[in-house]
Amino acid sequence: MTNEAVIFTQALTKRYGAVHAVRELNLAVRRNRVTAFLGKNGAGKSTTIKMLLGMVRPTAGEGTMLGKQITDTHQNVDMRRRVAYVAEDKPLYGYMTIEQTIRFASSFYPDWRTDIERKLLSDYELPLRRKVRELSKGMRTKLALLLAFARQPELLILDEPSEGLDPVGIEHLLQTLVAQSADGVSVFFSSHQIAEVERVADDVCILEKGSLMMDTPLDDLRQFYRRIDLVFPFPPLEREFQISGVESIRTSGLQMSLFTSANADAVVERAHDLHAVSVEVAPVSLREIFLETVKEA
């Protein structure tokens, strides 16, 4: 896994005083995949990204990005030539025009793709002569994305990339992400828009209170995670369902609802053994999985 990983961390930790922003994070983001990085506000996503980019020093642990040590200043600079990063607040220099911003950014990347720049300028309808400070939030987001996509990175790190975009812009973004991935770009992005994540992600990592709760291919989530609703003729006992793969159990009167990450068949069999009068097994959405995961934590 290490050789394939574009991002690899080992026990990566960031503490601010007594508060753990990130706690012993072991992350392996695979090459040529779209990896979603999910978590509630304050879960530690942005801190993790900042540690990867050398903006924040880890308290403990280590990590590599594209094979370069994140804590080594020189290696980090070298790595940043091959990584495009769009921060959550889409920072841009307000005193520059769009044209100046593009000229400025392109000067740092020899592989700058003028064709992509022109296409996105046209698609996003960005006025070249306008000052960045005069742009709407959506236009700023589009410009930030243009700067990231046109530099032809090996790894694209996006923090809430769709924030500020209208539905058309979001659709365009998702298509671009898929196209970038098909071109061999690894994408690592955080988002609160789980429906979007579900459309484009190959892998899903969930962070909660600084700890990694899940790092799984989305296909596996779809295949194995189930919601099982049971109705019994008598009040059921939760301990009867303490089976491997059962993540949570909720009981209300004669009804029981289970959330499983594996072994759904075993749960159904147990339910039948216990004379369940109704057994309903349903696949779960990523949204449900996310909510269950962060609730569990």
Binding site: M55, H74, V83, P91, L92, Y93
Partner: protein, 236 residues
């Protein structure tokens, strides 16, 4: 292109400061010329010395303002993550900013005195080029430490008003403290030419206080080095 960014960030402050100092010096010298008669040489030299005093005040305020900004300020306004994601080291970020600021500080030292030189020549009261050069060397060579101090303060303090207020406060306090207890080492007196002026002719001595200038430049270099270390170790 980092130079271009540094220029865009500072050009308004620089151009306004340059125009202010140049116009002030030109008007001051031109206006005062009319009042000097008949023994004008000594009086005129005295006038030039006073011009240096006022120009130094404006120049120091200008270089302190030019030293503001940078990556710590960018953190406060939210653009630091863009700058720090560029494939350049923090030392280079600070270095380019310092380089641009120093060029602007030097230009702000030369242009006003060049204007004074030309106005004097046009008024048929020419001044020695060596005197002009000495004033510029004292102002820039001695005064770069003010710029370096501003860079250091802006590496430590992010506030839009806090940083310049603190930097200007340090300038004033240092001038007062040194004048009271360490007059010989008062940078203000070095910059204005007070240590080098002949009180009879009001001409600057041919022997500039090179040791003082060298010390000032060395202190400036140390402060700039400290700024780089501070920025390198800072978290964003």
């Amino acid at each position: 292109m980092l130079w271009y960014k540094a220029w865009l960030e500072t050009r308004s402050r620089f151009l306004i400061s340059l125009a202010t100092i140049t116009i002030f010096c030109a008007v001051f010298v031109h206006h005062a010329q009319g009042m000097i008669r008949p023994n004008w040489t000594s009086d005129f030299n005295r006038l030039l010395f006073f011009n240096q005093l006022y120009a130094a005040i404006l120049w120091i305020m200008a270089v302190v303002l030019l030293g503001m900004g940078g990556i710590v300020r960018e953190k406060a306004i939210g653009t630091s993550s863009l700058t720090l994601s560029l494939p350049v080291s923090r030392a280079r970020l600070v270095g380019v900013r310092v380089g641009m600021g120093m060029i602007e500080a030097i230009v702000m030292g030369i242009v006003p005195w060049a204007a004074v030189f030309m106005i004097s020549a046009l008024a048929k009261m020419p001044i020695l080029m060596s005197q002009v050069c000495s004033y510029v060397i004292l102002l820039v060579g001695g005064g770069l430490v003010y710029f370096a101090m501003a860079i250091l303060v802006s590496s430590l303090v992010a506030g839009e008003y806090t940083a310049p207020a603190l930097a200007l406060g340090i300038v004033l306090l240092a001038a007062m403290l040194f004048d009271t207890w360490l007059r010989r080492f008062n940078l203000w007196r070095l910059v204005t030419g007070d240590f080098s002026i002949d009180r009879n002719t009001f001409l600057l001595s041919e022997h500039l206080p090179w040791l003082g200038i060298l010390t000032s430049v060395s202190v400036a270099a140390l402060m700039l080095l400290a700024s780089i270390i501070v920025v390198q170790n800072r978290e964003f």
